[in-house]
């Protein structure tokens, strides 16, 4: 267990070093968040009756999305990991007395968390200071806070587990390009990063809600904003648990199989 903590520490510190990058990233996200809200405002002013959720809940969603981007973005891939598989360097990792799956999983968590930690507070504070309904509002009940945090954790674990499946699939396909592209585009859309899922047209929305990607950021952020509550909330949480379990299992099976048939490709 201690060795995993060391891995975590190293990656975390590494992530903290890039302060200019963090500052820059924060500015970018302020702007992105502001633009998104301005965009939705334009639509709201054109036809408020067609808005599927409270504007305040939407603003909360958008700001949370920006603040915690590092945690849930599916278009972030560590090329180092892909590289180590395609060049065969992964052999060095396999020689260590730790399991590849656990090592990379912990690594994935550490990288995302260190990136998020640097950026989230300023954005959250900024968003909280904005006037309603454009900013972030904090829910009154402990109930909401608790389930949001629970859901966020589940969502993060899911994203990392999902990433693991993609990384390990490269053991089978050698080239990471095709998978990366398709997965990135699909998951971006299906997780509610392009437009929040409630805005999708009726038939499509139900379908998308079934898919695993809806279990990432879509659930926690809507819980926090008050858009998802009661019975629906519990169902969604269960969905998160379900998909997390599924991908953890798939990932571990794939890893075990892949390592059996490791093909070291030229150096």
């Amino acid at each position: 267990m201690k060795k995993y903590w060391s891995f975590f520490r190293i990656r975390f510190i590494h992530g903290l070093q890039y302060r200019a990058a963090a500052l820059s990233g924060m500015v970018t996200q302020f702007v992105w968040g502001t633009m998104e809200i301005l965009l939705f405002r334009a639509f709201y002013e054109s036809a408020p009756q067609s808005f599927p959720m409270e504007f305040q809940a939407l603003s909360t969603y958008i700001w949370l999305q920006q603040a915690f981007l590092a945690l849930y973005m599916t278009w972030f891939w560590e090329s180092e990991l892909f590289h180590s598989i395609t060049t065969g360097n992964v052999a060095y990792e396999l020689c260590r007395p730790v399991r590849l799956y656990h090592m990379w999983f912990v690594r994935g968590l550490a990288v995302r968390l260190s990136k998020a930690v640097l950026r989230c507070m300023p954005i959250l504070v900024f968003a909280w200071l904005l006037p309603a309904p454009y900013g972030l509002t904090l829910p009154g009940s402990f109930h909401t806070w608790f389930f949001t945090l629970l859901s966020m954790t589940l969502g993060l674990l899911f994203v990392v587990a999902f990433g693991m499946v993609v990384y390990i699939s490269v053991f089978y396909t050698i080239s990471s390009q095709g998978i990366k592209l398709i997965v990135t585009s699909l998951s971006e859309f299906l997780s509610g990063a392009i437009i929040p899922l409630p805005f999708l047209p009726d038939g499509i929305r139900e379908f998308v809600n079934f898919l695993p990607f809806a279990s990432a950021q879509n659930v926690p952020f809507r819980i926090f904003g008050g858009d998802l509550k009661g019975h629906d909330m519990y169902t969604s949480l269960l969905g998160q648990v379900f998909w997390l379990a599924v991908f953890l299992v798939i990932g571990q099976i794939m890893e075990r199989n892949a390592l059996k048939r490791v093909v070291i490709q030229g150096g």
Binding site: Y18, R19, A20, A21, L23, S24, G25, V27, T28, V31, W32, M35, L38, L39, R41, A42, F43, E45, S46, A47, S50, P52, S175, Q177, G178, K180, L181, I182, T184, S185, E188, F189, I194, I195, F199, L200, P201, I204
Partner: protein
């Protein structure tokens, strides 16, 4: 050998190089198409639900989106090397460029010509056609010229932004992410006429970074929302943005040469 012919030679060698990696080329093209297709889907679903935004119909929005996308894609194809300039500096390629008896900016542009953007270009063309078809614009020669000018102005503005980004790389290689606001941001939010975002943004995009000069005001004329036909000439003013960008490049270059990499 004059610069145009040299550029052609570079183009050929890029093509040849690409042919070596056909699969990679195909996948990258598809990938880029998917990214901008996602954006299109966003527009589609939103317009589906809301029918119109700030007075612009679905057809008009598509038209605006396609013009912005086309300008951005053309700029990306030619000026992509500036967008990834931090790599060129980081791996020593720029030093090698300085060892050649040619203008350094020219050679930087030659070093990367992205032919994989063709997927996006096609998407832009299709949307343009669809936008023209479904919007109720009355086409006159002046209006057609407006569209052309909008695209040219757009290419100039995006090129200037890429150039500014590259110039900043001369000073620091860290913390460059915020420039994405102007590049990816423009592509992302330029899908709607930028007037819809409110007065503050419109002012910024008129006087600071002249997006509005090629994407909004001429578009107002195009869709008949204003009859000031001189709006259609504004993209030419947007081209002037290249001047400060060029000056920044020169300044950055002389600083790079005095501090090394």
């Amino acid at each position: 050998m004059n610069s145009t012919r040299l550029y052609e030679k570079y183009l050929l060698i890029h093509l040849k190089s690409m042919m070596q990696h056909k699969v990679s080329f195909l996948l990258t093209t598809i990938g880029q198409f998917l990214v901008s297709f996602n954006i299109f889907l966003g527009v589609r679903f939103m317009m589906d639900r809301f029918k119109e935004v700030k007075g612009f119909s679905y057809g008009e929005v598509l038209l605006c989106f396609s013009i912005t996308l086309m300008a951005f894609t053309i700029a990306e194809t030619i000026f992509r090397s500036l967008d990834t300039f931090e790599t060129i500096i980081g791996n020593g390629e720029f030093d090698r460029i300085l060892l050649r008896p040619r203008g350094s900016l020219f050679l930087v542009l030659c070093s990367k010509i992205e032919l994989t953007r063709i997927g996006r270009l096609l998407q832009a063309v299709v949307m343009l056609i669809y936008g023209i078809y479904s919007s109720s614009i009355i086409w006159t020669p002046v209006r057609i010229m407006t569209v052309v000018l909008m695209i040219i102005g757009g290419v100039a503005v995006f090129a200037a932004i890429f150039l500014i980004f590259a110039s900043i790389c001369f000073f620091t290689l860290e913390g460059l992410e915020f420039m994405n606001i102007f590049t990816d941001g423009a592509r992302e939010y330029g899908k709607y006429p930028i007037g819809i975002y409110g007065k503050t943004l419109l002012t910024i995009c008129t006087y600071l970074v002249p997006f509005a000069l090629f994407q909004y005001y001429p578009f107002l004329y195009l869709t008949g929302k204003t009859s000031d036909s001189w709006y259609s000439l504004l993209p030419l003013a947007a081209c002037l943005f290249l001047i400060p960008a060029g000056l920044l490049w020169n300044f950055g270059l002389s600083r790079y040469q005095s501090t090394g990499s």
